[in-house]
């Protein structure tokens, strides 16, 4: 079993979270928080050295009995996808902390969220996963409701209710699954499904699948369950939005890939057409609505809806290519959306308005801000050479083999992406300067340091995605094999 790397990784931000509440001065708190987030990065780096690329199953596994009466254990482990998303989480958190300027409670909550999210991605027990998946809501709820914009309370409530609604359905499914199988250990369950020892009749399987899927689809969010997202994003702080969209929502798509497909292969096949259609609608709808938005944050939120459509399409296109693409997409979108939100946040902070019409001509006075904003935007529209391109390409190619029509329409979404990103840039950064624009400061050192790693990663992954894909692919291949998916060729 060895050193409990994952527990340590989760414990570091947890301790940091407690410590961040101690100092009276919020700037000290921020430093404490940043330090612990960076420690987490170091721990992750050390842990990653123990990770054997292409190794079987879950690595760095830990396992302790938790609630023996219900056959529930505290077990953690990472496969390729999990590792990728943990990396995303751990990397984004310092950026968020570095960019944030709020009370000490804020930093504590961010770190708490980081800890829980790590747990979500590392959990290998269905019950544990469920618990963390739900608990994740609480700090996020407070992040939005406490530190957000004027209508934050309503937005937070909507977010919480949507998520809990799905979560409780999932709870019913989790319990039913546990009752049927007598265990909630993920590897054991998957093995049982593969061996055929856990045989669910189609109806039960589909109902349970629906229970899980709804929760994930709300979290992801999948059209038409997305209506909480724009409000939550718009009303939350930039940092909160980053964590929400870039990390938290990945739990949804991650869950689909990790739980829905291997546990309910038959039901997954049954629901595939529906999900694919919804994904495509989401892609187009998100993009179209994004074009029409008047607020920066809402616009970015709707772009994310579109992107999540790509991810679910990739997951449910049922080819190894598309699924690998989807997994890569999660990472890539996490980075680009985070960068975009942070930069938009910097901009909004300077003027206090998030209306697009209030801006214009920023690039003259704040070239670095404008440049990085453009860079992040281009990553979002999947410019070749940036990480988004690799992901989108893989998804579309994979999807084309099984659902050509869907792939073609989705490709239309790419075009729309270009429209909204560039138009946004044009309306805010170029053109006539508004009277106040002259006073806009360019990015400060701290702000630069917050975004720089993200942009660098986007670039690196766009040019040389192989290491990540190497990590992801074995998992996807296994999933495909378990789910009995007719494998496409390797990219």
């Amino acid at each position: 079993m060895g050193f409990p790397w994952l527990t340590t990784l989760g414990a570091v931000p947890l301790i940091g979270s407690v410590m961040a509440t101690l100092p009276r001065d919020s700037r000290v708190a921020r430093r404490v928080a940043l330090a612990s987030a960076l420690v987490a990065v170091v721990v992750l780096a050390l842990a990653a050295t123990r990770f054997r690329v292409g190794g079987p199953g879950f690595q760095l596994a830990e396992r302790h009995s938790w609630i023996p009466q219900l056959g529930i254990s505290y077990s953690l482990g990472l496969d390729g996808i999990g590792l990728t998303l943990v990396v995303l989480t751990v990397v984004l958190t310092p950026a968020v902390i570095a960019a944030g300027q709020a009370g000490r409670g804020y930093f504590a909550l961010v770190l708490l969220l980081e800890a829980i999210t790590i747990g979500v991605f590392a959990a290998t027990d269905v019950f544990l996963f469920y618990v963390l998946f739900e608990v994740m809501l609480i700090p996020m709820y407070f992040l939005i409701g406490r530190y957000g914009g004027p209508r934050r309370a309503a937005a937070a409530m909507k977010f919480l209710l949507y998520s809990l609604f799905g979560g409780l359905l999932m709870l019913a499914a989790v319990i039913a699954l546990g009752v049927r199988a007598g265990t909630s250990d993920l590897p054991a369950l998957v093995e049982a499904v593969r061996q055929g020892t856990l045989r669910l009749d189609p109806v039960t399987g589909r109902v349970l699948f629906a229970g899980f899927f709804l929760a994930f689809a709300i979290k992801a969010p999948l059209w038409p369950l997305h209506s909480w997202l724009p409000g939550a994003v718009a009303e939350s702080t930039p940092g909160g939005a980053v964590l929400l969209v870039a990390v938290l929502d990945k739990a949804g798509t991650f869950g689909m890939l990790r739980y829905c497909l291997p546990l309910f292969p038959e039901a997954s096949r049954f629901f595939t057409p529906l999900v694919v259609v919804l994904s495509v609608i989401g892609i187009v709808y998100g993009a179209l609505v994004a074009v029409g938005q008047a607020e920066i944050t809402r616009l970015i939120a709707y772009t994310s809806l579109s992107h999540f459509g790509f991810i679910t399409l990739g997951v449910f296109a049922m080819t190894t290519q598309s699924q690998a693409g989807a997994a890569f997409y999660m990472l890539s979108h996490g980075l680009s959306a985070a960068a975009l939100f942070l930069l938009a946040g910097f901009l909004i902070k300077r003027h206090g308005s998030s209306r697009i019409a209030d801006y214009g001509g920023v690039q003259r006075v704040a070239p670095v801000l404008a440049g990085t904003f453009l860079f992040a935007g281009l990553a979002t529209l999947a410019l070749p050479g940036l990480s988004g391109f690799v992901a989108e390409f893989l998804v579309l190619v994979g999807a084309f083999t099984t659902h050509p029509a869907a792939a073609v329409i989705a490709a239309g979404g790419v075009v729309l992406a270009a429209v909204y990103v560039l138009w946004l840039y044009q309306r805010t950064m170029t053109g006539h300067a508004r009277p106040w624009t002259a006073e806009v400061r360019d990015l400060g050192a701290g702000e630069r340091w917050a975004v720089a790693p993200l942009l660098a990663l986007i670039l690196v992954l766009g040019l040389y995605p192989k290491p990540v894909l190497d990590v992801i692919e074995p998992v996807v291949a296994t999933t495909a094999q378990q789910g009995g998916i007719s494998g496409g060729e390797r990219p």
Partner: protein, 470 residues
């Protein structure tokens, strides 16, 4: 076993003398000592692990009885601390002895092995509570009214219980549970049995506060002094469910097919009604009252599951719920505005800004009641739901899950008010709690979190305790 009762009753007696001769403090010491001694005896009996039937067959000492008695004693200690620590002035001197009488009945209730003992225990539990509800120095009129309502409806339900007992006696020729069980197995005179069962159920459902017999709950919860409400909420549930479990699994176990659908319906109705009406409440205590109704529905699910795991789940749920709700009411006692204790939700706005720690604990307790993971409430729900699912009630669990989702709404609304709204100038503040109340709140918070993070021991205890001696 008798030792437990002797200790309990002795404690009661001693305290009855105390209000006159000794002062408040002495009385409190006696009460706590009595309860602790009873708890000690209980642990001793439990550790020896004997299950016996005593007192000429009218009292049975088995797992559920011991478990519930233990839970009841712990909660009683907390409730006594809360009642004693209320406000700046000491409570009316009768409060504590009355509490002890109620606790005496409560101890007897889950151990009752015939209808007569059960009935007497129910009454011994209820009568002091009726009075306690009316014992208020401030807002006495409202308290009296609550007391009156509680009494009238409580008496009404008791009449149902007795008439049901008469019918069952007519059916079985015995009021002892083993006798009834045997008669159910032989199965003549079914109509009498059904009528009797229905009436008994009505009587107990009243006490539990299940729909459609819940109408007293919000009124009484709101009107009674808050500390007493805490006791009421925590304790009546334990007692009534203890009785309910034993009655329906031991005595009427053979007629499961008859009562199960009906009780399932009641449980579903209770949950749905409770959460839906709770959403509309503007008063914290009323809101908690309706939430208590909803919780009664969830716990009933455990009864309906009619299995060992269902019983275990209910036992666990009861304990955790009792602690959580007691803590919540303890905190409500601390929220004051210029006119004293205030329970109007509107004046709670911004409490989280003014006193983050207390409001934070309140939030934790509320989340526990809402059943958010990593709290005891969640594990309780989980345990009950899994028992029901194991019995094949998928649809019921879905309804229950949806009801929980709605329930989160009104709990979260309070949190929204406390944390996300700016404090009003004339709004409420949380006063500094006395040591006793602080202990209550701390214990409640610890149990809520502890039972969520590490539910193993308690769940194990409940699981071990979950088999009735038949």
């Amino acid at each position: 076993m008798l030792v437990v009762f002797a200790a309990g009753v002795l404690g009661v007696l001693v305290t009855t003398f105390a209000p006159r001769e000794a002062r408040h403090r002495g009385q409190l010491t006696w009460v706590i000592a009595g309860l602790a001694a009873a708890l000690g005896c209980l642990v001793f009996v439990a550790v020896r692990g004997e299950c016996t039937v005593t007192a000429a067959g009218s009292i049975v000492v088995d797992g559920p009885a011991l478990f519930l008695q233990g839970a009841a004693l712990v909660l009683a200690i907390l409730a006594v601390l809360l009642i004693a620590g209320r406000g700046t002035e000491p409570p009316p001197p009768e409060s504590l002895p009355l509490t002890m009488f109620a606790v005496g009945g409560l101890l007897l209730l889950p151990a009752a092995n015939d209808l007569l003992t059960m009935f007497v225990a129910v009454e011994v539990l209820s009568l002091p509570l009726y009075l306690l509800c009316g014992l208020a120095r401030v807002r006495a009129t409202v308290a009296h009214e609550a007391s009156l309502k509680y009494f009238v409806l409580g008496g009404f339900s008791a009449a149902f219980f007795v008439y049901g007992a008469a019918m069952v006696y007519g059916f079985a020729g015995s009021v002892a549970f083993p006798g009834i069980r045997a008669a159910v197995a032989s199965g003549a005179h079914r109509p009498l049995l059904l009528i009797g069962m229905a009436l008994l159920a009505v009587g107990l459902l009243f006490k539990i506060g299940a729909a459609p017999f819940h109408s007293w709950v919000p009124d009484v919860y709101q009107g009674a002094p808050t500390a007493v409400t805490g006791l009421l909420a925590a304790v009546t549930k334990i007692g009534a469910f203890g009785a309910f479990l034993r009655l329906f699994t031991v005595a009427f176990g053979g007629a499961e097919r008859d009562w199960r659908p009906v009780l399932t319906g009641v449980a579903v109705l209770t949950m749905v009604l409770g959460v839906v009406i709770a959403v509309a409440q503007q008063d914290v205590k009323r809101m908690l009252g309706y939430s208590a109704v909803a919780h009664a529905g969830f716990m009933l699910l455990g009864v309906v599951a009619a299995s060992r795991s269902g019983i275990a789940g209910t036992l666990f749920y009861l304990t955790v719920y009792g602690c959580g709700t007691l803590g919540a009411f303890a905190l409500v006692t601390l929220v004051h505005d210029s006119g004293g204790e205030t329970t109007r939700l509107a004046s709670w706005a911004g409490l989280g800004r003014r006193s983050p720690v207390a409001a934070g604990i309140f939030a934790v307790l509320l989340l526990g009641l809402a059943g958010i993971p990593l709290t005891g409430g969640f594990v309780g729900k989980f345990a009950v739901f899994s028992a029901v699912l194991a019995g094949g009630g998928f649809a019921v669990v879905i309804v229950a899950a949806l009801a929980s989702a709605v329930a989160v709404f009104f709990y979260a609304r309070v949190i929204v008010l406390m944390f996300f709204h700016e404090p009003r100038p004339d709004g409420a503040v949380i006063i500094r709690p006395g040591a006793r109340v602080a202990v209550v709140i701390a214990v409640a918070g610890l149990v809520t979190v502890g039972a969520g993070v590490a539910p193993g021991p308690l769940l194990g205890l409940a699981g071990q305790a979950a088999s009735f001696l038949r």
